[in-house]
């Protein structure tokens, strides 16, 4: 294969989450957050957010089983990734047919980054022929990206660079990684433990972000941070509290990176580097300016 002709990875295509209370998590996803429930398979409840068959699933089980799915261009690209990750000393294993079925994909390489986060590199994740029809009008258009907790930024950055990701910007050591034309799809946050920090879902307009705020206020559901706008990516965000400490985010308006390459920019870890409008995260240290 010629790595120059196409990227190795295409998108963040799912988050699989362990739930301590499966049905409460499922209610959150459908009734509060606004995803579409599509399937239940082997105790795993799946939800859609866009044209893909599923982008979120919850299952009972230890927290360590959570993973994120990264769509890989094709099988040869998966072979190339496997070779690169092994060379760099990352643990990988080929998914069994059962593992693939559970993930709704044709093939997968199950990898672990430098922090211990499970990253599923998947080929041909299942799409849906029917259009997305959510349970309430939250305005969601797609799973946009993820924020990952990192206990070993150097190794994690190495991991993502092997997949072809590039750094768009830094805020302190928070690292925004791009894998397509947008500013970032993956962000690494220095943290004391590994795990998924947030799953971000794009909504149609600012209107949806704001409507989701008042929807929550009326139901007294905690907002972690926002409304705000990331200065680096220009993305408007609202971080809300999801099940088991995972943040679910509504986002809109991320800037594109033009065809002209530019070096990654360094911003200081200060409140105004994290939000242009003035919002702050009080309780989640990874999102706040106080800690790094």
């Amino acid at each position: 294969m010629n790595p120059q002709s196409h990227p190795l990875v295409v998108s963040v295509c799912y988050v699989r989450l362990s739930a301590t209370e499966l049905h409460a998590s499922a209610r959150f996803a459908a009734d509060i957050f606004g995803l579409q429930r599509v399937a239940e398979n082997n105790g795993e409840i799946a939800f859609r957010s866009d044209h893909r068959f599923r982008t979120v699933s919850f299952s009972n089980g230890p927290n360590d089983n959570s993973s994120i799915g990264i769509e890989v261009w094709d099988e040869p690209a998966l072979d190339e990734i496997e070779r690169r990750l092994r060379e760099s000393g990352f643990a990988t294993s080929r998914a069994s047919p059962e593992d693939c079925q559970l993930r709704y994909v044709q093939a997968a390489l199950l990898a672990i980054d430098g922090s211990g986060n499970r990253i599923d590199l998947v080929v041909r994740p299942r799409q849906s022929g029917r259009r997305y029809f959510p349970s309430r009008d939250a305005g969601i258009t797609q799973l946009h990206g993820v924020g990952m907790r990192s206990t070993d930024l150097g190794r994690d950055l190495k991991f993502w660079k092997e997949l072809g990701a590039e750094v768009s910007d830094w805020v302190g050591d928070i690292t925004y990684l791009r894998i397509d034309g947008l500013h970032h799809r993956i962000a690494l946050y220095p943290a004391r433990r590994h795990g998924l920090l947030y799953a971000a879902f794009e909504v149609e307009t600012l209107d949806n972000i704001m409507q989701n705020i008042y929807f929550r206020q009326e139901r007294q559901i905690r907002i972690v941070q926002g409304p705000g706008r990331e200065p680096c990516s220009k993305q408007i965000f609202l971080h809300v509290e999801g099940p088991d400490g995972v943040i679910f985010s509504y986002v809109n308006g991320m800037s594109e990176i033009g065809p002209v390459r530019r070096p990654a920019r360094q911003f200081p870890r200060m409140p105004e580097s994290l939000c242009d409008w003035g919002s702050e995260s009080k309780d989640v240290p990874e999102l706040s300016a106080g800690v790094s």
């Binding site: 704001m210 409507q211 705020i213 008042y214 009326e218 003035g278 919002s279």
Partner: protein
């Protein structure tokens, strides 16, 4: 017919000029144009001033509207007198205090003090804000009405205002292509209900939400979005209980000939499509 071109200024009495100046500059973000004899002139755009605080009673309020020329002003005075309004011709000194060539004063049917002015002054220097609130200019007012149907007739039949939309029986009225310049609000007595300044982007609305919240300025409505004009808004309280609004993205009425006012129900979602609810601010009551 009295042809209003635009709203020119608001004059507000206050017993505490110092607090008014502090709020106007450090919170609202206007530029001090001039500190006159017991008067503070504030700029928000290329006009020499659009808000004037005068030392005195907060109930002393006036709204100035620009008319074309002296002839229009004389005709307006005659029209108003014929309809039984007491019209006061402004003295040369009072005109100078308002930075206009000539003006008349009268009361609308609810008792609001209205001034019609000729040739309000512009400034040669561009507007330079005291804080980066993103203000692009003074744009409209909310005006109390003890009888919205009667006052709508006054503004649309005696003057040239046109109804752009209605919420219940509350008309939002334009005098030019901007969706509304006068919003009537049902209230037990006359008064200015709010003073609107436009800002550049919705970012400015949200930034000010956090900025003003941090400074403990009471946010009385918003951040929100009006389904009528499409504007993103934030209402907050200033000195003497006056409510100020920032907004952005007010629609323009493109085709004057074919525009028909839309009727919105008298309910919260007609005032905000995002779901914000007013707090500490009187919304017009339905009946």
């Amino acid at each position: 017919m009295i042809n209003l071109k635009d709203v020119s200024y608001v004059r507000l009495g206050t017993p505490d000029m110092e607090s008014a100046e502090t709020f106007a500059t450090s919170c609202l973000g206007l530029q001090v144009a001039e500190r006159g004899n017991k008067a503070l002139y504030l700029r928000s755009d290329d006009r020499s001033h659009t808000l004037c605080y005068t030392e005195g009673n907060p109930a002393d309020q006036a709204v100035g509207f620009e008319v074309e020329d002296d002839d229009s002003l004389q005709q307006a005075a005659a029209t108003l007198e014929r309809l039984g309004h007491h019209v006061q011709a402004g003295s040369a000194e009072d005109a100078a205090r308002r930075r206009v060539r000539a003006f008349i004063g009268f009361k609308d049917p609810s008792g609001n003090h209205i001034e019609l002015v000729v040739r309000p002054e512009r400034s040669g220097r561009r507007y330079f804000a005291s804080r980066d609130a993103g203000i692009t200019g003074f744009s409209h007012i909310g005006l109390n009405s003890t009888d919205p149907a009667r006052d709508e007739r006054f503004w649309t039949q005696v003057c040239n205002a046109r109804v752009s939309d209605r919420i219940g029986d509350i008309p939002l009225m334009r005098v030019n292509s901007i969706h509304h310049t006068i919003a009537l609000v049902r209230a037990p007595q006359a008064g200015i209900q709010h003073v609107n300044h436009q800002v550049q982007t919705s970012d400015d609305v949200l930034r000010s939400f956090y900025f003003l919240s941090e400074r403990r300025v009471p946010i009385v409505f918003g951040p929100g979005r009006h389904p009528t004009s499409g504007a993103r808004f934030l209402y907050f309280k200033g000195p003497d209980g006056m409510v100020f609004e920032y907004s952005v993205g007010v629609d323009e009425v493109e085709d004057e000939a074919t525009h028909r006012p839309r009727q919105f129900g008298f309910e919260p979602s007609s005032f905000c499509m995002w779901g914000s609810k007013p707090a500490g601010m009187a919304l017009p009551s339905g009946k």
